[in-house]
């Protein structure tokens, strides 16, 4: 019961602030509502027994990516963009396409709902293996998923170099 209440609270905060992210005129307000969305998604991770991921979500998303967004907003002047029209001319077509997409998603999930209500057969056998969440994730990350882990580190290195090259001041070529 508590799980249900928490799910609805965090889910409502997530959806409402996500809608506010895409409808606010001022980009700073969008960033604030994005923070609220990300934090409530972290809360949803907690209700799903993924404590480590909840911590990573708060540290990396709210503490890293969002601060990056706010820095860029600070660097770029806002005065002109607030007074401009905020939405595309094709917004009606976009809304129809999105409505078609959510109908498809909803129908697909609704059709398969019976398989989600009962846990899989071997679930009880491994039910207690997810208790030490951080330990489980760490062990899996450094044994079975070592190669993807290293590739992810190379990806981050490339992203660091790319971001520096893209945003540095252009040097004069004589």
């Amino acid at each position: 019961m508590l799980e249900l209440i928490l799910f609805y609270i965090f889910g409502a905060i997530t959806i409402v602030s996500a809608i506010l992210v895409i409808t606010q005129k001022n980009v700073v307000h969008s960033a604030v509502f994005l923070a609220s969305t990300l934090l409530s998604v972290a809360g949803l991770f907690l209700t799903l027994h993924a404590e480590f991921l909840a911590g990573v979500q708060v540290i990396v998303y709210v503490g890293g990516i969002l601060v990056l967004f706010v820095f860029v907003i600070m660097l770029i002047s806002l005065e002109r963009s607030v007074t401009e029209r905020q939405f595309n001319r094709q917004w009606l077509i976009a809304l129809i396409a999105a409505a078609a997409l959510i109908t498809e998603f909803g129908y697909g999930i609704y059709r398969g709902r019976d398989s989600f209500l009962i846990p899989p057969a071997d679930a009880q056998a491994t039910a207690d293996t997810l208790t030490g969440n951080t330990q489980i994730v760490g062990t899996a990350l450094f044994t079975n998923f070592l190669l993807p882990f290293e590739i992810a580190s190379i990806l981050l290195l490339v992203a660091i170099v790319g971001a520096v090259v893209l945003s540095k001041r252009k040097t004069q070529v004589d």
Binding site: V21, L48, G64, F69, V72, I76, I102, L156
Partner: protein
Amino acid sequence: MVSTYHYLFLGAALFTIGIIGVLTRRNILVILMSIELMMNAVNINLIAFSDHFHHATGQIFAIFVITVAAAEAAVGLGIVIAMFKNKETMNINEIDIMKW
């Protein structure tokens, strides 16, 4: 009783909100934020299935999605700054050099 089903609906709704943001907004920073929303929707799905099957693989993939999101935000915001230096705008309708 809350089940994986509920989380999948939430993920679908969040993903659709992100799609609407990408398709309708003209401010490039809001478009990047909408992409972050969509990645969060994917993460909710992955972790819901991780909880459903009592298996850690979904959480590992969510970590990789967060890594890709961080890299994408860094490079994307670098591109935004470089573009702002050249064209003094954040409106994607004015950034149409490669439009045929």
